[in-house]
């Protein structure tokens, strides 16, 4: 029988006696057993000695960053979105240490990839430093007295995270069936292959046998999980519509009385309807043939503290959307007053509408106390403040605002009759 080659002639690039060669050979056997075409397979390798193997493979090969191979493979698998394709990750115990979150996440999501952890219990390429997989007592060139605490039991962790197939085995002999099982399983599979690095591990721990190290570490050699995947993360395509919907377009039906640009600031509290009131106001301005800009300002915690809207209106297209000093300031709450204080102080003209319940505010603008909260409550005082301003200064018809408020979804609670009482 002719076996499809997955590794090109010329030998493997590893040190004599290195378990990485066994992994490569057994992976080739497993892929052949599964009857795959080499180009149905994407081999994603991490950084470390194992990663130089990709030049030997006849599959597609992708060689990424240290610790990130699992995340990269997850993207490839989701991008392929094809169960006929197989994505296999080679990663070392060092890469699995730095990329632990990617491993947990991929197992949890059930990404359709197979990860082969080459666990030789240390960082081989950089001189034999301990990884988070190095067992307690295992010596390396930089911990000559042995590591002080145990290594990860990746198999238990990954099984708990929701992987479909998890197995630990000793990296000797023929373990191609095990790797084939892992690759054949839909969803996330992981095989941890235990090895001893012939360059650093053997020298630092003379006479120590692989099987004994693993046993003494309390790491079980077995299949931890082999079952059909549960709910897999799906990445199915949706049927998106254009974001530029005609329903967003306002056709002017009113007109306005503005000769120049004006800037209006509404300063209140989160939950006080400031942003929706400003939104309606800006739309009403557009409905009146004006240009408008609308900028919200609030603390990082959007549900408490101040909520401020800055609106610019202009008969000409607005280029600069900032508004350093407002022409009109409407303050509906103490949070808003605290925020607006420096703006009020900068105003040398214009109009400041201050909720009648609030403390004095220093400003050079005409200050009018308006019973906003007492008349309409603290949820509607911002829209009332804007209506009050429209009634007094009439930059555009109050009917435009009423039109927008009436049509806006969720605005049924706004009692327009109450809003139309303007005595000071």
């Amino acid at each position: 029988m002719t076996v499809t080659p997955f590794i090109r002639d010329g030998g493997l690039p590893f040190c004599k006696g290195c378990g990485h060669s066994h992994v490569a050979i057994n992976t080739e056997r497993a892929l052949a057993q599964l009857g795959l075409d080499p180009l149905d397979v994407v081999l994603v390798t991490d950084i470390g000695c194992h990663g130089i193997v990709d030049k030997s493979f006849l599959t597609h090969t992708v060689h990424g960053l240290h610790g990130r191979a699992v995340a990269l493979a997850g993207g490839i698998s989701a991008g392929l979105d094809d169960p006929k394709k197989k994505v296999v990750v080679f990663i070392g115990d060092g890469g699995a240490t730095i990329g632990m979150q990617h491993l947990m996440g991929a197992a949890h999501r059930g990404l359709d990839i197979t990860v082969i952890v080459h666990n030789n219990m240390l960082y081989g390429m950089t001189g034999g430093q301990p990884s988070d997989f190095t067992p307690c007592g295992f010596k390396t060139p930089t911990v000559p007295d042995g590591k002080s605490h145990p290594g990860y039991d990746i198999c238990n962790q990954i099984a708990a995270a929701g992987a479909s197939y998890v197995q630990r085995l000793l990296g000797v002999g023929n373990f191609s069936d095990d790797i084939a099982n892992a690759i054949a399983t839909k969803g996330f599979s992981l095989v941890e292959v235990m090895e001893i690095c012939p360059s650093h591990g053997v020298k630092s721990n003379p006479g120590m046998k692989l099987k004994k190290v693993v046993e003494e570490s309390g790491l079980e050699v077995k299949v931890f999980r082999s079952e059909p995947p549960g709910a897999l993360a799906t990445f199915s395509a949706s049927q998106p519509k254009s974001l530029l919907s005609e329903s967003m377009v306002t056709h002017p039906i009113y007109t306005h009385s503005l000769r120049d640009r004006i800037s209006i600031m509404v300063a209140g509290s989160a939950g006080g309807g400031v942003q929706s009131a400003a939104d309606w106001f800006a739309r009403a301005a557009i409905l009146s043939g004006l240009d408008a800009t609308l900028r919200g300002a609030y603390p990082v915690t959007v549900g408490v503290g101040f909520s401020v809207a800055q609106i610019n209106l202009s008969p000409e297209p607005i280029l600069y959307t900032g508004s350093p000093t407002p022409d009109v300031l409407i303050v509906t709450s103490q949070d808003g007053a605290n925020y607006a204080r420096p703006f009020a102080a900068r105003m040398s003209a214009g109009l400041c509408l201050l909720d009648a319940d609030l403390e004095e505010l220093q400003t050079g603008a005409e200050l009018v106390r308006v019973p906003m909260s007492s008349r309409v409550g603290t949820r509607d005082n911002a829209v009332y403040g804007l209506m009050w301003y429209l009634n007094k200064m009439a930059p555009f018809p109050i009917e435009a605002m009423m039109n927008v408020v009436t049509q806006a979804s969720g605005s049924r609670r706004v009692k327009l009759e109450k809003m139309m009482q303007f005595e000071e």
Binding site: T61, H102, L243, M248, T250, R295, L319
Partner: protein, 397 residues
Amino acid sequence: MHRHLAVAIQQSQWLQRTVAKNQMPFKVSTVPKALTDGSRLITESCVRAGADVFIGYPITPANLLYLYASKRYPRMLAAPDEITTLQWMAGFSATGHIPVTATSFPGFALMVESINMAFMMELPMVIILAQRLGPATGSATCGSQGDLSVIAGTLSGGFPLPTLCISNFDDCWNISAEAVKLAVRMRSPVVLLTSKEMVMTRSSYDWSGLPEIEPIQRRFYEGAGPYEPYSTGPDLIPEFLPVSQNSYQVRLTASTHDRNGIIQNVLPEAIDNTKRLESKLVKHLPGYTFFDFDEDKGAGTLIVSYGITSLASRDAVQELRKSGKKVSLLVAKTLLPVPGDYLDICDRYERVVVAEENLTGQLRHLLYGTRGRAGLTGINGISKMITPAEIVAEVER
């Protein structure tokens, strides 16, 4: 009487009073407009240009881009962090998709090594960077233009990471599509630079006249083989093949590699390949040099700006010209690699005023280094948008 006005008068008691008092309104506009933010236009533009997957990790002020992406991209993935975001994007890109993400500095910082990887692998993708005030977490809800130097220093070795910048809503549409197409054409990650005020502040906008965006047509290698993933012709851009096909083996690697994608340390062929990564971007730069040059003949002063400060700069130029002052304006949209055109234009002016919302003048330094030149000044500041008045004052100084 204008038909529109007649309807308006009929509907408005206010207007009836105004007409009765013989105080006619100053101006009547009938142009339909939407109240929109830049994020909406950017998202729509990227998708129409051919971007087909968005991978996001939430961060202020890029959250609207994430929200719209969830409604608009054919595929949308919520990544668990920004390193995964970039790695997933690289994976999608390797399979022939065009991925986009949006972030701000803290997320971008996590992405840096992976952006280097994608650059080395020559994988197309777009990273939208919505700037906020740093350093570190800084002020998440305060705009800024503080990240140009970060982008300029993203790639080890000083390689240019192609960066386009949005100066207004028209650019949200036009430049975003160019970013997607540039990523594919150059086989490179591309940064689309913007800032908080552009992606969150809403403005009335007439989008009816926006040009149609034709989706980019991907062209994959169709030769007779053997396929060498990093072989190029005179255009210095290797033909792409996704790892989803069964015709030819594809090798992608972040390490220094030869034309077959096999790791080589300092083999001349591999080093030449690394050098090519810069050459290809510089060679094609004229094809993606985007700027607005509003020339006022006879002006001795040039305002140079980009991004959010372009809004104030355009405003200031209008004001200055109204008062009889001659002034020209250069709005830079291609920021990296820096087009030579900018210095050529600057050379024609006695005074060059660079306005940008950061402390140190990052574009100014990209153009002129620390030494500057005669007649060069900057308008800088943080924590608030630079105002037209500040620019007017500097020009009139």
